[in-house]
Symmetry: C2
Subunit: 360 residues, 2 copies
């Protein structure tokens, strides 16, 4: 097992445990549980696979389980309320602990519920998708979607620990595996050119679910994420670079209806957009853009946007991105492969040129 740390102030630093067979090691979990009351939030796809394994280690606790339907379309205030219903019906106190057992949606919702329940209870992330293990479970961004914008309602709220058990990836379908690789590739593109090289060389191994390759990719991704979050927890600067491709990607997720594209798929398409726009603004070469598209394709990811979305629809949806200032659209661009720029406002002309070249 590897242990990384997210270094934050005020005793809020926490470990990320990465390795095989971690779900069977109850002590990893219980050392971070604060009281006898433990709630587990999961979904109807993950719970049948892993809930009993987690519960087996919690025999001495008062456990309650809230199972949500699986999918981004349920990441709403309405379904969030079901978590509060379960906690209150069982009289859970402010010293209770909430465990989020699932992918990014469950992690975001469980974390946000923990942030708000009685103004904050302890929580633990047990991510069960590659995407959640390498990205969304680390760093404390929690929240739900709004029909007009992705992740628009939420909180910065850090977990007690993250337990990334590589074994759970065995049950992940290929589409979910590829979606997770979109965020893995992101770290190479924004700040880790050596990792980008490694990913190009090892993509076949990752897709074949080579355990050692996957473990290395998770660990290096988490190390990148922990470094960025430790430097800028509340996204006043460099943390925004983790949003490469996300401004476009969120517009796609919202515009097509949550759940049609997996988050990682939308990010992959958005990364292609960002690379194209970086080229138009003189940062990347044609060869750089081709290299970006090639590695996304190699990971089994889409790079063509949905044909049903118009340029105007993109612009309208991108106007509510969290990076914007006074309603002006700002995006993350690449200065080079392996180096992202801080968010910048982009002139309408090149942005429209990129959108027109891709959009329907």
């Amino acid at each position: 097992m590897k242990e990384l740390r997210v270094e934050l102030d005020k005793q809020r630093s926490y470990p990320i445990y990465i390795g095989a067979g971690l779900l069977g090691q109850a002590e990893l979990l219980t050392r971070h549980v604060r009281s006898k009351q433990v709630a587990i939030v999961s979904n109807d796809a993950i719970a049948p696979l892993y809930l009993s394994k987690v519960l087996a280690g919690l025999g001495d606790y008062q456990t309650e389980t809230v199972i949500l339907p699986d999918g981004e379309q349920y990441k709403t205030l309405q379904y969030l309320e079901k978590i509060f219903d379960g906690l209150l019906a069982n009289k859970f106190s402010r010293n209770a602990t909430l465990i989020a057992l699932g992918g990014g949606v469950i992690g975001d919702m469980g974390g946000f519920a923990a942030a708000c329940y009685q103004r904050g209870i302890a929580f633990i992330q047990i991510p069960t998708t590659l995407l959640a293990q390498v990205d969304s479970s680390v760093g404390g961004k929690t929240g739900v979607n709004h029909p007009l914008g992705k992740n628009m309602i939420g909180a910065f709220y850090q977990p007690q620990c993250v337990i990334a058990d590589a074994d759970v990836l065995d049950t992940l379908d290929d589409r979910q595996l590829s979606a997770g690789l979109a965020e893995v590739i992101k770290y190479g593109l924004i700040r880790d050119p050596e990792f980008l090289d490694w990913l190009e060389a090892n993509m076949p191994k990752l897709l074949a679910r080579d355990k050692a390759a996957l473990a290395y990719a998770i660990e290096r991704s988490c190390a990148n994420k922990a470094a960025v979050v430790g430097e800028d927890e509340f996204e006043n600067g460099v943390r925004a670079t983790l949003n490469l491709g996300h401004t476009f990607g969120h517009a796609i997720e919202t515009g097509c209806g949550y759940g049609q594209y997996l988050h990682g798929e939308a990010v992959a398409i958005g990364t292609g957009f960002a690379a194209d726009l970086s080229r138009r603004l003189g940062y990347l070469s044609d060869a750089d853009v081709a290299r970006v598209l090639a590695i996304l394709h190699a990971a089994g990811l889409p790079t063509r946007p949905p044909t049903e979305m118009s340029t105007e629809q993109y612009l309208d949806l991108m106007a509510v991105d969290k990076k914007n200032v006074d309603g002006k659209i700002r995006v993350i661009l690449l200065e080079a492969l392996g180096k992202a720029l801080l968010p910048i406002s982009v002139e309408r002309a090149p942005l429209q040129a990129t959108l027109n070249a891709y959009a329907g």
Copy 2:
């Protein structure tokens, strides 16, 4: 105008402005506004009286208004979402500012919406009831109710400033004025015995809306609140004493249906319960309890609980209070008049004796 400060770490300290005619001084407001986008959240009772006055000072800004129905029964996640709808429909960015213009319900909801919108935007409290001016607008407790428990979903989130204009109390009805006095009396009971003496002597002036007396009561209450919050922002200790009477009061509000009792009325009844229980446990004398009930009566407040609630219903509702640990009921008691104890677990017998003596 008086200016008090709530002293917090990390440049989060903020002023409370107290005085007459403050709503007409736009500069007080605009010095705390961060960008061109300003949202005002109010209700349909307050907006007709004061919204135009606030908007008059914001002519240079992009302003949007969200008006909620008036009443505790609308302090829910469903109505909270209406605030997000308004902000997103108008493409408000993360650097926008939200102004909560209203009583405790609007302040709690506006503050919680600001805490969650894009994971946190700036907000300003303009409390328009005595209760909000002396208590709920100061200290950063925000949130909404759940059918099973009051204020169960929320955040600690501090405003940029609080503007308490004593002139707005002119339009407050007598019932609301008395409700506010419940929290004023609380400060005397928990930590300020001299203020308790002053309140006993000056209650007729306060009820007659003597401006100088009201201004003094607001200022001294805010000074007490600011001191407690500055010492213990996240309620790990002394801040819990501000909940005198609230454990019982919240049970009454939830049990009778939100909106039937005003918060201050429920707190007044709960304060009588807490005094009675303090007597049963040997802290207060019969004369002390009589003095507590007398000042509540003098303020026009009820001290008899609703007859429709049984002892069992109180115990059930109190079992989800935020002060509880592992589901065990904890309450705030008075060691003497002017001195509260930290939350303590109470044996079933004296608690039931108090409830039986009062409950239906």
